[in-house]
């Protein structure tokens, strides 16, 4: 799923300065799964913002709404009725949904309520960890199903750096596994350590954002 997290409350309050009627819009898909922008979070943040702004002397009215999917135009359309009543929108969806809302309601300022951080998995209750960085050149087949692009702090392609901690964690964070240690262990378990012995050449990053904004075209699906 796409993972996002609330921006710091002071940043949110500062961005809403001067607004009176605010639409706080969530999304019931990825950001709900990662507890950042689903209905529950929308309902939690609304009173918090209201109290925070009041404390700074600003009275606001907050309308809440959670869309099924904020990245689909037909769902975004549901906001058309509310939009005329507000002077700002704060969205708790990922950056994709936010942009669709911004595009549909071009006259209204749109403020991000969350920072979109990663493509991740809910590893444990309350813990999400990155899995993919949308690199555009998937190498999972060579790394025993574990992604070094997203999960190695240095996106190394050819094995662990010298920084792997003694307990197998990454040098950058004592709570994060060194993914290369795990890749090596999986290779060993399958008796295929030799697979990790060949030098993997430099990666072609051009099919990710590094090649310019991605545009994927499928002629057979065009109308």
């Amino acid at each position: 799923m796409i993972v996002a997290e609330w921006k710091p409350i002071p940043e949110l309050l500062a961005s809403l300065k001067g607004h009176k009627n605010i639409l706080l819009v969530g999304c019931a898909t990825c950001v709900a799964e990662c507890a950042a922008g689903g209905e529950r979070e929308v309902l939690t943040l609304a009173p918090v913002l209201k109290m925070g702004l009041k404390e700074q002397g600003q009275d606001v009215n907050i309308i809440t709404k959670t869309l099924e999917r904020q990245c689909e135009p037909e769902f975004v359309e549901e906001l058309a009725e509310i939009a005329p009543q507000v002077d700002a929108i704060m969205s708790l969806s990922c950056g994709i949904g936010m942009q669709l809302v911004a595009e549909r309601f071009i006259d209204l300022p749109l403020y991000p309520g969350v920072n979109t951080t990663s493509l991740a998995i809910r590893e444990q209750p309350g813990l999400w960890t990155a899995r993919c960085a949308a690199c555009g050149d998937c190498m999972l087949g060579e790394t025993f199903g574990l992604c070094p692009v997203a999960r190695c702090a240095k996106s190394l392609m050819n094995g662990p750096c010298g920084g792997t901690r003694k307990d197998g964690k990454c040098e950058v964070d004592p709570d994060t596994e060194c993914i290369w240690r795990l890749i090596v262990e999986r290779a060993e378990a399958r008796g295929r350590l030799e697979d990790l012995a060949k030098v993997r050449p430099a990666k072609d990053w051009s099919n990710s954002g590094h090649g310019g904004p991605k545009r994927m075209l499928r002629e057979d699906l065009r109308s």
């Binding site: 009173p47 918090v48 109290m51 009041k54 404390e55």
Partner: protein, 146 residues
């Protein structure tokens, strides 16, 4: 906001959310799920303390209550096993968020209790009232409060 002068007559309004299971078996809950009990105390009966979410407690404060007291069973005695633990986490979350907007985390609290009588509830509400009194009236108080 300038700190309000303490008003000696200020009587905090406390909303008590209490778990059905924490009530003494002999005690009949007041008719209806919501009921006012004495001055400035409102009761809300819950089938389990985990039935209340952080956003609901925040909403009650946003609507002007001076304090929200959640009465939950002891951790090991929860009839639904992890209900009162969940409740505790949610109270923590609500308190954290209240702190971030300078509303006073103390406005939301959890107490673990069992075999409660209505009298006990009143007493606990009274305690809560004296704890939040120092914060002064909830600045959100206004036309929201029914």
């Amino acid at each position: 906001m300038a700190a309000a002068k303490p008003d000696p007559n200020f009587q905090p309004e406390i909303v008590v959310l209490y778990c059905r299971q924490a009530l003494d078996a002999e005690e009949r809950p007041p008719e209806g799920a919501r009921q006012a009990l004495g001055l400035g105390v409102r009761l809300v009966l819950l089938p389990c303390s985990s039935k209340v979410e952080a956003y609901q407690m925040l909403k009650i404060v946003e609507q002007g209550a001076d304090g929200v007291l959640l009465l939950a069973c002891p951790e090991k005695a929860c009839r639904f096993l992890t209900g009162s633990l969940k409740a505790e986490r949610r109270v923590q979350r609500a308190r954290q968020l209240l702190g971030l907007v300078n509303m006073g985390p103390e406005r939301v609290a959890l107490r673990r209790v069992s075999g409660l009588s209505l009298k006990d509830i009143l007493a606990l509400a009274g305690q809560m009232a004296s704890e939040v009194k120092a914060l002064g009236p909830n600045p959100m108080k206004g036309d929201n409060l029914q």
